[in-house]
Amino acid sequence: MLVTEFIPYYLKTRKSQYKKTEIPNYEGLVEKEVLIESNSNLLIINYYCEELNNEILNIAEKMLNKKISEDLSEAFLFIESFQKLLLEEYNLTSRINPFSSMIRGLEVYVLSIFHKQGDDLLTFCSSLKVRDKREKHLLSFELGFLKLLPYSSYSSKDTFEVLNALLKEKELQRHINNALYDFIRKDLERGIGLLEYGLAEEESITIVSILLVAIYNTSDINTIDEIVELDEKYSLQRIKILARLNFKSLKDLKIALGYLNDLNFEDIEYADEQCFLINSIIKSDFSTDEVNSNLFNSYRKFLNQKNKEFVNRLFKNVLLINGYENDRYQLLLLSLPKLIDYNTVVEFFYTLKDPKYLFNFIVNLYSLRPANRFPIRRFSPLIKHYIRFKLKETEQLILSLFENLQYGRLGVKIILEIHQIDFLKLDKEEFQINAIKSVCNSPHSFNKLLPYILPLRNSMHSKVPLYLQQRLSELVFNTYHETVYNQIKEILIESKEEDVEFLKPIKESLNKYYKLKEKKESINDLNPYENEKDLMNLYYRLEAEERNKSKSKIRDRKDGVFGSMKTSVIVRGNSFKVDGKTVYPMARIQSEMLVNPKIFLNPDLFDF
């Protein structure tokens, strides 16, 4: 395929990478560096390919029906117009702009033409107004300029000068870092020259630091001596640099370790960088178990500090360590009383691969307050995450909750809200009985849980089906009556003799309940509708009042969904009409939950 054929295809498909099968005869494009082979099957567009951009510029000039201007600002305006035209052509909004990478490439290409022509880009760049007062088409000028930098012919002095100026823009720092890495990758010699200039002239320590790290990490050149020899006033900067090195030797690693002998408990910035350095050393192949063990000790010392702000800041570094999950989990437990942001904990668990730590954490937390109100939903995304990546292990951990009756309720909550479980996988009779007990004691949603315990009627342990039958009979008699009986009947197999037998005592319980109900209803002596009318009326009147209060509270909230709307109350009716002929029915939102009546019969016994 020719470049001229590829561009229309790209504009139509608007993808940054293609399967090889999509591009017939792609080899030519790869040869011209329009496409880069990413792996055996994928091709990635090289937006900075000269030939590609030359052709794009041709297309732009055709579409806009004019040549690109020789004035730099006008040229950028030309590119902006081209982008706008493309978006219109393909009916896209600027919010979803699939051409942004292509446009950036075109900008860099145009800049390189101006640079080659001898235009003074440095002066142009430094003459630009601050970003919020600048013309729209020049807003991202610096980004293009930084991309061009490695390919430019500026002297070290000029380069430092422009970078120093750009450093003031906080949002450009990342791009400066990338530009310097590109610089060194493109021309190491020039890069070393730039560093030497910076050191000799005591230029910006930020740029010098990036260069020291980039040269150390991307080349064979060892900059460790230069790092060590940095002036004492740059001690924080030095630790920052060391923390970002991919150590090349044990010797270098030991040099870095020397900077951890004295842990700084006073300066939060320094301590933060020391933690980052610890992470780098742990990550390094040259480190040993003994070294790592000592480093985790250093972490413990840091996280044992009383200062909450200190601990919260430093703990973030623990999230960046790979592996060592047990050591890291211990660090979490150590820091937990001082951690302010719950999201840090959530984030932490996302960095662990083994779900056992999360379950240990949940169980410990639950033990502190073993209540039905335990907020398992908070852990729901994490548990789901583990289920996605470690299904077998996570299921085993959920099942293990039923090995101890104390945690059965927790297990039920997980089953109810997060993940279904096959209780037949519990190997021991005691555990299966625990599962039945836990489910039967659930204060609500028993109907949703029933399908999980019913398979236990086929348990290999003879006591389990009998126990299940007994508990279900009790529940049918005392609590859920025909609702649950009908559900059991529906799930059981009518033609299976064992199931018919299983149902018999449960049916008897239902009949016993009917008799009891009849007995209760046969007299009015204990009937609250007859003897407690006043209190009952008060209760339901107040309940309705409270419900309306919370409804109007939601309605009146300024920050809620209703905040920006005008609301009207439908006094009577099930639909409404504003103007015109259409009568709109009101949406009916309904939710249902099977609640164990014992919750309200004796709320003190239930911690719902």
Binding site: I523, N524, D525, L526, Y529, E546, L601
Partner: protein, 578 residues
């Protein structure tokens, strides 16, 4: 319009249950100045030979006669051919009455002319008229000295109107209207209607004590019979609503008012008066017995006292009902044990039933208001009295657990102002109204003393610390009237003694709140022994000689506390010995 006969007739017609006519008929006889020699209850298990009631009285011809009353009520109240001729029917009963002997010590009983009266609260139906007349003519022409009369619904209506309802209940248009309103609105409110209160007040106001020589004044007899009649009517009407709770409520009020009148007139030791009172009180206990017979099979099932259909209200309603039920049941047991001297095995049976109710209804230890102390004290005292300290200890521990749990989880103690409304408001809104009072707890003060009575050191330490940590004060209401009182001069109501106040004034406050201290000078919890010693010193602080006890009605005092929601006086538990 005179609605009196309509009310009376429709009431008499409504007595459709077997035995109902038997209950009301002697009241009429007494009001008509008959002297009853025998009633059906005295013949239980023996053949009655056609004489449900045997009485001596003056006939309308002015001659004193012996009367044999044969009653036909229930399904036999209308005279039909089958009622006439069936076995044990009218013909058979009258023949037996003619030939029956009646042994009595009544002087010259056999010499008096005999009259057989068929009493039925129905009509002589057309189909039976001829047979009946023929039978009577034929049968009675044979005997000169035996006469016959039939009192059907019309005759009964006239007599009941003239002799009973006419005396007090339906004496004028106003009282007729009042009585009618009571009956119509019997199930309209959860409490007792104001009409009923007014009706009783009116009855008692008309009868001030004037004393008597040998025979009770007729107007008093009529008053007592009227009270009996009212009890009976309330009971039968409640049964029509299939709701004996109504009877329980109304009759409790009647008994309290009745006893107050007796106390006020200082006639509680007068045997003639007490005989009449006892009849009404026994009837009240019978009604309670029937109430418990109906409800106990339900109450002893798990959560049996909970309603199937009252919904979320049960989070309060079930507890209220359970405490109310246990309060009356323990009162009932205490009364039958103390007053009717039942056997030990029967007492044990009743105790087991009480335990069953407590165990079946999980909220039985969950007090919501301070006055639930009555139930708790009743139950504890009963267990202790029946020498079952283990059950008493278990129940006390259960109650304490609920109180501590309520404070720790919901931040509430039982409301010292005894308002279920406040509890409901708190439950639903999470906010205590200004009327909700739980800074000082009389209930916990009592329970702390029971901890001493039952010698529970561990519980003392736990609850003592709980009280101190939560800054809860303990106080017990103590009347000024005690024998050893040093504050008698502070009594404001000098017209009523302690019992008269208890039986008439729900707001009685002639007393002081006795602070119960738990803290030593060093701000630590007193030791168990120190508290015990203090408790012992408090025992004699309030002792009183009750007139009701002397009259043999000690349990009535409990009923007054129950009825007016006045917490028990300290001697109720301080005189208990384990």
């Amino acid at each position: 319009m005179n609605i009196k006969p309509i009310i009376v007739k429709s009431y008499l017609e409504s007595l459709t249950e077997e035995g109902e006519l038997n209950k009301i008929f002697p009241i009429l006889l007494t009001s008509m100045d008959f002297e009853i020699l025998s009633s059906p209850t005295e013949n239980k298990g023996l053949s009655e030979y056609g004489k449900d009631f045997v009485a001596i009285g003056e006939d309308k011809d002015g001659i004193k006669k012996r009367f044999y009353f044969e009653l036909k009520g229930g399904g036999d109240r209308d005279i039909t051919p089958s009622v006439l001729t069936k076995p044990d029917g009218i013909i058979e009963s009258i023949r037996e009455a003619i030939n029956a002997d009646f042994e009595t010590t009544y002087l010259d009983f056999e010499k008096l002319p005999k009259k057989i009266i068929l009493v039925h609260n129905g009509e002589l139906k057309g189909g039976a008229r001829k047979t009946f007349k023929g039978f009577i003519d034929k049968e009675f022409t044979r005997y000169d000295n035996i006469k016959f009369e039939r009192w059907g619904i019309d005759r009964l209506t006239t007599d009941f109107s003239n002799y009973l309802f006419g005396s007090y209940l339906l004496v004028n248009q106003e009282s007729t209207k009042l009585f009618n309103k009571v009956l119509i609105n019997l199930n309209a409110s959860d409490e007792i209607s104001i009409d009923f209160i007014q009706l009783l007040d009116g009855l008692f106001k008309q009868n001030e004590c004037e004393g008597y020589a040998t025979k009770l004044q007729r107007k008093w007899v009529l008053l007592f019979e009227t009270l009996k009649l009212i009890s009976l009517i309330i009971y039968t009407e409640s049964k029509k609503y299939n709701n004996l709770d109504i009877a329980k409520r109304y009759l409790t009020h009647l008994i309290i008012k009745y006893w107050y009148w007796i106390l006020k007139n200082r006639i509680e030791l007068d045997k003639k008066v007490i005989k009449y009172f006892d009849e009404t009180f026994s009837f009240y206990i019978d009604v309670l017995e029937e109430y418990f017979k109906r409800t106990l099979p339900i109450a002893i099932i798990e959560n049996g006292l909970a309603s199937e259909s009252a919904g979320r209200y049960e989070e309060i309603g079930y507890t209220i009902r359970t405490f109310e039920y246990l309060m009356f049941f323990s009162f009932f047991i205490d009364t039958v044990i103390s007053k009717y001297e039942i056997s030990q095995s029967k007492s044990k049976e009743l105790k087991i039933l009480l335990i069953n109710v407590i165990n079946a209804n999980s909220v039985s230890g969950r007090p919501l208001v301070d006055i639930n102390s009555i139930t708790i004290i009743n139950v504890l005292n009963l267990f202790i009295q029946l020498e079952d300290t283990e059950s008493a200890t278990n129940y006390l521990k259960k109650v304490l657990r609920y109180i501590v749990n309520g404070k720790e989880r919901y931040g509430r103690l039982p409301d010292a102002n005894n308002s279920y409304e406040s509890v409901i408001r708190f439950t639903l809104t999470g906010k205590k109204t200004v009327y909700y009072s739980d800074k000082t707890s009389p209930l916990l003060a009592v329970l702390m003393e029971y901890i001493i009575i039952l010698n529970l050191k561990e519980e003392y330490d736990e609850i003592g610390s709980f009280l101190i940590n939560n800054d809860i004060d303990l106080g017990i209401f103590t009347p000024h009237h005690g024998i050893n009182s040093t504050s008698k001069h502070l009594i404001e109501d000098k017209n009523n003694d302690l019992e008269e106040q208890l039986f008439s004034n729900p707001n009685m406050d002639d007393g002081y709140q006795r602070n119960i201290n738990l803290i030593k000078e060093n701000q630590n919890l007193m030791s168990f022994d120190e508290f015990k010693q203090n408790y012992r010193e408090r025992i004699d602080e309030f002792q009183y000689e009750y007139r009701s006890d002397e009259a043999g009605f000690s349990s009535l005092r409990n009923l007054a506390h129950i009825h007016f929601k006045i917490s028990y006086f300290p001697d109720m538990w301080r005189n208990v010995n384990v």
